[in-house]
Amino acid sequence: MTAVGSPPSLDRARAVIRRGTALSLVALLGIAGVYVVALAFTPIEAHQGLAQKIFYIHVPAAWSALLAFSLVGIASVLYLWLEDPRLDLFAASSAEVGVAFSAVMLTTGPIWAKPIWGTWWTWDARLTLTLFLFFLFVGYLSLRTAVHDRHERARFSAVVGIMGMLLVPFVHLSVYLFRTLHPQPIVLKPSAPSLPWEMLRTLLLSVLMFTLLYLGLLTMRYGLGLAAEAREQRDA
């Protein structure tokens, strides 16, 4: 991290990008390992068959997306308070990575729903709120490209980021608050996880690897933002 107010150097940005790339590669290898464990060493669920194994990528992608969007909100609150540009860059980076994980969540979910529910999509509370959250952060990223003044851009997008964060608990609790087709949480709930150990182990491993990938991609994207700032300041 650079000191507050000091311009980032291109060398510093390159070092951050290198660290992010290394972490992302380790995480991607870990996810390849998760694929092997899920497909070859995790039992087939009796009622849903092989389609249930989609759960081992859908749930960790959802976790990473909600983590990313929550951190956008926290960084945005801190930005409005401290006005440190690093917090704005962190929020922008986390939003972009969160949108990528949301794309995984929103495509693997319907692929699971078709054989299990008999339909690709239904407008129930969980699915609809998740889609709105995705659109909100696509809007957040569009807003950032539309506003050229960096202070205005940071302030406007911080407000949108906080709105997005406020949606996250509704997404998680929607299965309790509304009548919904979506399965209820089986790990993040008040009682103990209701999943056989072999399945829980695969899920936790996958959550760990997806979280590592989030951190790796976030670091890369943050480094690219530092490089863009260094370029702007050099050309100014």
């Binding site: 291109l10 940005a13 390159r14 990008i17 992010g20 790339t21 992302s24 991607l28 996810i31 694929y35 497909l39 087939i44 669920e45 009796a46 009622h47 849903q48 068959g49 092989l50 389609a51 194994k53 989609i54 990528i57 859908h58 992608a61 990575v97 990528a100 794309a103 995984v104 495509t107 693997t108 692929i111 699971w112 078709k114 054989p115 990938l213 991609l217 890369m220 994207r221 480094g223 690219l224 490089a227 370029r231």
Partner: protein, 40 residues
């Protein structure tokens, strides 16, 4: 115990789609990083 339903194609499709999205995004960051690396 009932036989589990045969729906492996959906599982494969989901795993492939997830890999394509994540690798595409990683690839786009690597391309952007390449430009930063070659900058003077």
């Amino acid at each position: 115990m009932p036989e589990p339903p045969v729906n492996g194609a959906y599982m494969i499709a989901a795993y492939v789609v997830a890999a394509v999205i994540l690798l595409s995004y990683f690839g786009s960051l690597v391309r952007r990083a390449g430009k930063v690396r070659s900058e003077k």
